[in-house]
């Protein structure tokens, strides 16, 4: 058994090693420009992966923004607020959401959600919400440092060709896919809050909601873990995103524009990659994605465990 443990650890290290060694061709070819360059043109030998990194971060944070409030609210409802007879079946249904294959979510996104976004949703947002952000962007632009960048970002946020496929759809589909993760972990964190704490609050005359809010405050580390694990899942999701994002490299946060992520580029381009450098560049995308998810997970671990703080 110890042997197996060693084997598994080695297998994991092997992933890192193999991906790195297969990436060296492309990384040597493009240097740091691999991360910062914004031109990805394999025919011309240009490998700048910034639009993919951007697309990954943009869609994932969008998903987190949508899924975290809903996930926390669901967890609160299940553990604290709902009638007891409702909590069990509701919890099972939410867990079942995780049992839908990502391929099915992707197909549903393309054939059901995308037409909805194309017709009423995106034009409506472009008409009524875009002007507000245009105005806010104009306010930020004259500010120093990040002002101009953020200003432009807010200005373009609710723009794009409005074809349904794109960043917004990817963000929504990802949000749906990470809700069960966020619910499960937040719920465990809430359940770990000592019963005595709840009883004390009730005894002081707190309402159900006030007790729940207190429990949430005590469980905040666990909720943070739920968020980061959800984010980690969103970063690496491949098939659903490949189907719904439209596969065009775009490095501006335009919600209604098609885009591309690290994960979605690999299945979209590897079948056509014949040059060894091209293959190597696509594997390097995988390496960057892997590094990103590891960073998120290890970062979360550090925050949760606080190893620098001495244990009593």
């Amino acid at each position: 058994m110890a042997l197996v443990a060693l084997l598994v650890t080695l297998a994991f290290a092997a992933v890192l090693g193999v991906l790195f060694s297969r990436s060296t061709d492309a990384l040597a070819h493009a240097g740091w420009g691999f991360l910062t360059g914004s031109t990805w043109d394999p025919v011309a030998g240009a490998y700048g992966a910034w639009p993919f990194v951007f697309g990954t971060l943009f869609t994932s944070f969008l998903a987190l923004l949508l899924a975290l409030p809903i996930g926390i609210a669901v967890a609160l409802f299940l553990t604290e607020l709902s009638p007891r007879w409702l909590a069990t079946p509701l919890g099972v249904l939410i867990e079942l959401l995780a049992g839908v294959p990502s391929l099915v979510f992707g197909m549903w996104g393309v054939f059901y959600l995308a037409p909805l976004l194309r017709k009423p949703v995106e034009p409506w947002l472009a008409k009524h919400v875009a002007p507000i952000f245009h105005f806010l962007g104009g306010l930020l632009m004259p500010l120093p440092l990040l002002g101009p960048t953020l200003g432009v970002w807010l200005d373009v946020l609710f723009t794009g060709p409005k074809i349904g496929l794109g960043f917004l759809l990817a963000g929504v589909v990802l949000a749906i896919m990470i809700v069960p993760t966020i619910v499960a972990i937040s719920r465990d964190a809430l359940l770990a809050v000592p019963r005595l704490e709840r009883e004390a609050a009730h005894a002081l005359g707190a309402t159900r909601w006030e007790v729940a809010r207190n429990a949430l405050r005590s469980a905040k580390t666990g909720v943070f873990a739920a968020g980061t694990l959800g984010l980690g899942r969103a970063l690496g999701e491949t098939i659903a995103v490949t189907l719904v994002i439209g596969n065009v490299a775009v490095a501006l946060p335009k919600l209604f524009s098609p885009g591309q992520t690290l994960a979605s580029t690999i299945p979209a381009q590897l079948p056509e990659a014949s040059e060894p450098v091209f293959v190597s560049a696509l594997i390097a995308l995988g390496l960057v994605l892997f590094a990103l998810t590891l960073l998120v997970n290890l970062g979360a671990r550090l925050v949760i465990e606080r190893p620098w703080r001495k244990r009593a």
Partner: protein, 279 residues
């Protein structure tokens, strides 16, 4: 007055949280009805057993893809489950020190590894070396995804076994190993089985690890060292074709995959009657 306000807030937020539950359940209902309504018309005996030919051939079906998915899952289970369960056993029984911490870290990182990364890892190691796609490569990629899930669920299940049970085993004169296999593991059987089934169902529906390990293949399975058809790769290929019948077939196959994966989840929840605990 204040008390009225607090009561109103209590009801308001409870309603809001309930609403969030409804919002979260909409996609579940919507995907289920959508995949059933789109896929059901495509299903027929001919479709389930026929060979994969071109989309405009009325006799074509998805037989090889069904067989292929079963073979891939079997390979993944045979490789992944023993490793996962052994890893979980080790963690539960010996994983308290620094080494255990390091292993747990590796397992967590493995669980967080994006499926496409697993796919291109196996592609880099097996496919590029062998210069051809194979069922074995696909099964390995799926096994890689089974292991961390099974390790964690096995560990949790074993940890839940009360220590006095272990002590009783040792007190009766059994060795540590014998106690583990004859007392602790049987007591934790339910959790281990549940975790294994859920992990298996999850990888059965995975597409990304298969794209570059088994690729897209149409023929019946004819060897582990050979390329193999699979439901996810068939669906992913067909849904991107413009022909109407190709898309119909993709939806039919998607319904089957959905029933397989989702059905396993439903059955496990019903059988174990997993109750949502309340404080």
């Amino acid at each position: 007055m204040t008390s009225l306000w607090r009561k109103a807030k209590n009801h308001g937020f409870t309603a809001l949280a309930g609403l969030a539950c409804l919002v979260a359940l909409v996609p579940l209902v919507s995907t289920t009805t959508f995949v059933v309504s789109k896929g059901a018309p495509a299903l027929s005996w001919q479709f389930l057993t026929g060979t994969i030919t071109s989309a405009d051939d009325p006799a074509s079906g998805i037989g090889p893809a069904i067989v292929g998915t079963l073979v891939l899952v079997l390979v993944a289970v045979v490789i992944g489950l023993p490793i996962g369960i052994a890893g979980g056993l080790w963690l539960a029984e010996h994983g308290r020190g620094r080494v255990g911490y390091a292993f747990r870290l590796a397992v967590d990182a493995m669980a967080a590894t994006p499926s496409i990364v697993v796919g291109i890892f196996v592609y880099s190691v097996v496919v590029l070396a062998q210069r051809h796609f194979s069922a074995l490569a696909g099964g390995l990629a799926l096994a890689f995804m089974i292991v961390p899930v099974v390790v964690r669920t096995t560990e949790v299940a074993l940890r839940a076994v009360p220590d006095p049970l272990r002590e009783a085993g040792v007190a009766l004169g059994a060795t540590q190993t014998r106690t583990l296999f004859r007392v602790t593991l049987p007591a934790a059987r339910k959790g281990v089985v549940t975790g294994s089934i859920l992990a298996t169902a999850r990888v059965a529906g995975e597409t990304a690890p298969l794209l570059f390990t088994v690729a897209y293949w149409q023929a019946w399975a004819y060897g582990l060292d050979k390329p193999i058809a699979a439901l996810p790769t068939f669906i992913f290929n067909s849904i991107q074709q413009p022909a109407e019948r190709a898309q119909q077939q993709a939806w039919g196959a998607a319904l089957l995959l959905f029933v397989l994966v989702f059905g396993a989840n439903v059955i496990v929840r019903l059988v174990t009657r997993a109750r949502s605990p309340r404080p």
